[in-house]
Amino acid sequence: MTMKQMEVHMKNARLGRVLTVIAIAMVLVGPAIAQNNPITITAYVSGGSSVQPADDNKIYKLIQDKLGVTFKWDIVVGNSTQKTGVLIASQDYPDIMSGDTRLIDAEAYIPLEDLIQKYAPNLKKHYSDDPSVWEKMKAKDGHIYILPNFGVIHNGPSDTAYWGAAMWIQKAVMKEAGYPKIKTIDEYFKLIADYKAKHPTTEDGKPTIGFSILTYDWHAFTLINPPQFLAGYPNDGNGVVDPKTGKYSVHLGLDIAKRWYKLLNAINAKGLLDRDSFIDNYDQYLSKLANGQILGVHDQLWQFNDSQTPLQAQKKILQTMMPLPIVFDSSIVPHYRDRPLPNINNGWGISVKAKDPVRIIKFFDAQMTEEWQKTLAWGIKGEDYLLDPKGQPYRTPEMRKAQLDPNWAQKNQAAIWNANAPKLEGHFSDGSATGIANNSIEYQSTLDPTDQAILKTYGVASWSELMDKSPPPNPSWYPGWQLTPPDGSPAQFAWKKANDTAQKFLPKVILAKPKDFDKRWKEYLDALAKTNVQAYQDFMQSGIDERIAKFGKKK
């Protein structure tokens, strides 16, 4: 009822009194209704999936009908760094924003711990079942700003797919060689070289590419990260930590890095390296993978999965990639796969400009029920999945096929919400795995016979197991990549410089004639020495020391 209508009615005094009573009643009843009062949540998403959902998306429709929430997305396509910078400069924040340490530094999020305590019992249970998770979620000032989207596990982990870092190799290459068990980088490159010699082009006549590197924009960490993995260190954020002393060193100029770039230099001389690696953008990289041209990459699956789904949809399973835990020498124990850990600083946060944070946190909480979690993760029962007599979810072949179709997903999945939303992972209370594909019927059947055979050859049940059957416990400081220097600090500037230097000099090092390698490497080290990278190293060291002091050396 609008004010104007009220005014008209007020002319009639008696009716006016009645209305007053109604108005008071409405105020009194208000809070109860407010639970589900319709609200539009504006959301800023940077990184990850960048596809706008269709207007008639059924999951969002369901959320709108049942929980009263409509979304308005602002999805960054391409480089998010600048867009976020502009957002901070304008202070014109939407209601919720995906996690970004720069937004935390700009005080763009509101603290959530009190809201969670008061209004969100489900979220509270989710994040404080393991008290160390709640502790790690806190920013430096002791507040919680971001609700981690992944890695909070209940009732034991259930992951089968492997999304992390690995040396990936095209399955066709492994098949050609008779699925050997390989461990070292030399064996890896030899397989690729042999295959490329036999198959200079793909079936479509495009030239095959031995090894490619993604170097575009922030994705370029795939250029600088491999040495640490090859040397048996976990992903500790632009460097390695000595497990005994806790000493952190930036990996850019280390000997293990030299060893890796020397290898790349050698394969370049043999024509195995994709020389366009250094000028291609992200889309060009993905399209080469989707064409099945690339035989090997170092990457993390979430970063190139968009190139694999079309291949799966076309049943070109041999052209998809499989992960391998490759190291420099057979004496090194690989540490690629790690135990699940809360994905700190990633996920939704509520902005300081949100009009009704209580309503928003209540919505966050409402979607944490098992029923909603199943809807969000599995879809709608009867349409997207069925239950077998034992209550285990599974899909029919048609449903599975639909899942692989990007156009279908746009209409039938809440992908963007899900990517950042807090979610139950591991197992539901009824024992089924939270990821539908991790349940046994579904897992076996979604595996293409080719994949099943490959896994069987290696005697493992899943790609995760292929990488590492039982990853060692995470060290207490791990993972170092979650530490980021604050805005305007010398450490931040130093890292930007060092990273720019690496991106400028490493291509020269890699593409140099083998006899010039040492000269180019020295030029690179000299340039690196000028960048004050020590400031960054000191920052990282202090962060790691802090964590060791807080949680001890081992978990």
């Binding site: 910078g85 700009a106 020389r275 305007g488 500037f493 720019d500 991106q503 400028k504 291509p507």
Partner: protein, 306 residues
Amino acid sequence: MSRAKKSIWSKAAGQKQLIMMALPIILYVVLFTYVPLWGWSIAFQNFKPQKGLFGQEWVGFKWFSMLFSDDAFFQVMRNTLAMSIINLVLGFTTSIGLALLLNEVRTIFLKRFVQTVSYLPHFLSMVIVAGLVQNMLASDGVFNLILLKAGFINEPVQWLGKPEAFWWIAGFTNVWKELGWTTIIYLAAISSIDPHLYEAADIDGCGRFQKMRHITLPSIKPTIVILLIISIGYILESGFEIQYLLGNGMNQEYSQSIDIYVVNYGLGLNNYSLATAAGIFKSVVSVTLLFGANMIAKKFGEDKPL
């Protein structure tokens, strides 16, 4: 003194209407051009947006000294100047050249056709142009194919990975995109030349090239000089889009322009103070260059410099 004052006021009173008419424009200029200069104060602060206008910490010339001690900043200045000069020289010579040539074309249809085709690229977004350039310069692109077939090179060259080629790639891309557009203004200037001059030249026995040199070019000289002065004011605006779209890790040494630097190290690192300091420096250089160009124009004998 008081008499002089009085006379100013009485003079002003006599021009009341004129002053009233000018007032909105003056207000506009003050409001939108001078008031925002207050924002320059950010360069002397450790600016954090969430602290508001008055809660900022003042740091003096910290950001300027940081800029000048950064090798990359001089590289960036060099690139900006070099790309601007290449743009300027290529832009002027090609567009004047095309205008002169088009002026000599006798078939009206052909003239119109060439003019239309040459200015169409102006309407393309730089994103599309950059995509085209990227494709043409790719390892399996047209450019490499031609060079390979012609036997100039033995294997494809990563043109965008060749830092020193970047200035010219940017320059020629700009020429391709803007040539037809900038030619229009010269054609307009040429069309206003008194035909009697040409007739007189004909009678004196001038050939085509002599007419170009002694009539067409001197007649459009004022236009050229004014456009030159205007362009020099913008010389540090060598552009942002093309460097941003075609730049990569390998060619950054030659592709980073001042605007890219501001975006990467300023906005990108949330360091608005550093970005503003770089912006101020750029403005100072631009103003200096503008005055320089004005002086040169005077020497060229243009009696009405800006």
